[in-house]
Symmetry: C2
Subunit: 374 residues, 2 copies
């Protein structure tokens, strides 16, 4: 069973129980609108990644502002999105194993679904499942454009898979997934740009090779919050998958712009609300948010409103702050905001979003695909 929400609609933020996952709705709304505006001139489509938010409510808000659909990573996430009313989903990932492929094919009877492949055996199993459910599934061949994770090499290996898909009745070859994940958090602007330039070149050449073989390659999909401006302007990518832009996090906030400044293109709208639960000394404050309330894989959270306090260590249910200077507002019982180091896995720790506007709770949304692992 999910736990009870830590808040009620209309409650002042100060009364929201902790730890809680807070959305600053004004900043969130501005982020939602900003991405479409930033890329409008390029005529590129938006398909935001829902692995960030895991919420069909938020996915439908993105689509209401022009997104053609959303991405997700798992079949179980796609199931939660369809259940919540989303009807165009790309699983921007490989789906492996008969059990998952059955669920994918069955779901494709109820929504437009796409999926990535990088293996001929997996493709054959995908086709079997599609035939079994008489389903139509869009297939993207994933190419490795420098991230060193999944995907075949650009060029001939991608062409071979595209040809195999093109011969199928139930599967349609829709193009290439060319996501350069490892470029997203490269701090230096020029290095980030150069990594994407190399990805663009690989995607362009592979697309040309596939088209030369007589197979249409209408979609090149990729990009993230750290790099989307480059893909948008590339004239090669047709679809952007940015996800984190709606929330941001401490790690993305550290990326530098062309002038060498940390000047994020979006606002921080996601916070963890936490209580000071112990104040053993002037130099130490303990908060009630630790490893089970914050993902620390990309570094510790930032103590949002207290520059003189540093979050130095997380244990399971405790966060330890080093307080460098006498500071009001950090007494036992005081509640403060933390900016998570990495938003996606932090969101996955919560059952509920608490949406706040002008210090008052305006909405409580389930993190519907929280824990959607399979």
């Amino acid at each position: 069973m999910p736990h009870r929400p830590p808040a009620e609609i209309g409650m002042p933020l100060a009364e929201v129980d902790t730890p809680a996952l807070i959305i600053d709705l004004d900043a969130f709304d501005r982020n939602l609108r900003a991405l479409p505006q930033k890329v409008a001139a390029h005529g590129v489509k938006l398909r935001p990644h829902s692995k960030t938010h895991k919420s069909p409510i938020i996915a439908l808000k993105q689509m209401a502002l022009g997104a053609v659909g959303v991405c997700c990573q798992k079949v179980s996430e796609a199931e939660a999105l369809v259940e919540g009313g989303v009807r165009d989903i790309l699983i921007a990932n490989e789906v492996v194993g008969a059990a998952k492929l059955r669920r994918l094919a069955a779901l494709a009877r109820h929504a437009t679904l796409g999926v990535c492949i990088d293996d001929a055996g997996n493709l054959a199993e995908l086709e079997d499942a599609a035939i079994d459910f008489d389903a139509r599934i869009k297939v993207l061949v994933e190419i490795d454009v420098g991230a060193g994770r999944c995907g075949v090499a650009p060029g001939k290996p991608a062409l071979a898979l595209a040809q195999a898909v093109a011969g199928s009745k139930h599967l349609s070859f829709d193009g290439l997934q060319a996501y350069q994940g490892s470029a997203q958090h490269v701090r230096n602007h020029d290095e980030r740009r150069q990594a994407i330039e190399r990805a663009v070149e690989m995607a362009r050449d592979t697309k040309a090779m596939i088209e030369a073989a007589g197979i249409a390659c209408p979609r090149i999909t990729g990009a993230g919050t750290g790099s989307f401006a480059f893909e948008a302007a590339s004239a090669v990518y047709t679809e952007l998958q940015c996800g984190s832009y709606i929330f941001m996090d401490a790690d993305y906030n550290r990326n530098l712009d062309a002038s060498g400044k940390a000047a994020p293109e979006f606002e921080q709208s996601l916070f963890v609300w936490t209580t000071v639960m112990s104040r053993p000394s002037a130099e130490r404050a303990i908060v009630d948010a630790g490893l089970k309330a914050l993902s620390v894989d990309s570094g510790m959270p930032v103590v949002t409103d207290f520059p003189d306090a540093e979050f130095v260590r997380a244990s399971d249910e405790h966060g330890k702050l080093a307080v460098k200077r006498q500071t009001e507002g950090l007494d036992v019982g005081d509640k403060i905001r933390l900016t998570p180091g990495h938003c996606d896995p932090t969101v996955n720790l919560y059952d509920w979003y608490v949406g706040v506007r002008r210090q008052r709770v305006e909405c409580i949304w389930p993190v519907a695909a929280r824990g959607a692992l399979t």
Copy 2:
């Protein structure tokens, strides 16, 4: 809503969907029995920490083997335990804020509850809540015995709080919490022993000071899986809080014994079951378990059955293995076991345990207090 379990009772392990949280039930049963046997000679009580497993089913198994009750960290965990039939719980942590204290006092009408304090203002609020619900609550004063987290200093500050508790009608002073958390993962055996010797001394002296003031101090509680042998033999600690011993993890397995060997006292019984989802090259395999299936705060998981493969990087939904030598069993679609770096926050990512004996699913248990944050 929790997600569907990734398995069915009676299913072969090979068919269990991934990622899944697997308990090797034979090893788990041996761990359950081993701890009581190891400390039987010392006459010390066991109160295992349920923050590891978050399951009343497992808590009741521990109590059936002699544990006097369990610990937890949060009121919401205590609520899930009481709902599952557990009737003696120590919240081995401070509970701060009126909303949580109301829930704690209300729950104390339905089970024997204890809680820690380290602040006079918090104690006054706790007493107000207990009076409001006419509840009886056991109170332990937490002293900082070297962990540098919560707790007052040993000696006079602890005595002052004990005296304040002793004057209350609804609260009973039950003793000291003296948990040396930072000693648990000190690799070297002698250093670990010395850290606990210092903790023992502080607990002994503080207890003597409280008793000299005419207040009984029957309980000294603490210890973890890394140090329990020292506290058990101390003749000062009366109750041990070990939790991880039932599952173990890669981090605890690295602690050294007196001869300098990594020779864990318990068996690894918890695994993440994962599928090889991409095999882009001979040197790289990608599995479907990343940051949302594994906590990496204490290091990457170990690739349990493949010494030639190393888990080198986790992204949200992918794990990257470096494969050092040609290895069978790591093809696309193959399922393998990972040993989590840190069991507690890994368990918290799952809705279900899949209990396996002789390669067959024997039980599916909910992680009842998964996400119990408040």
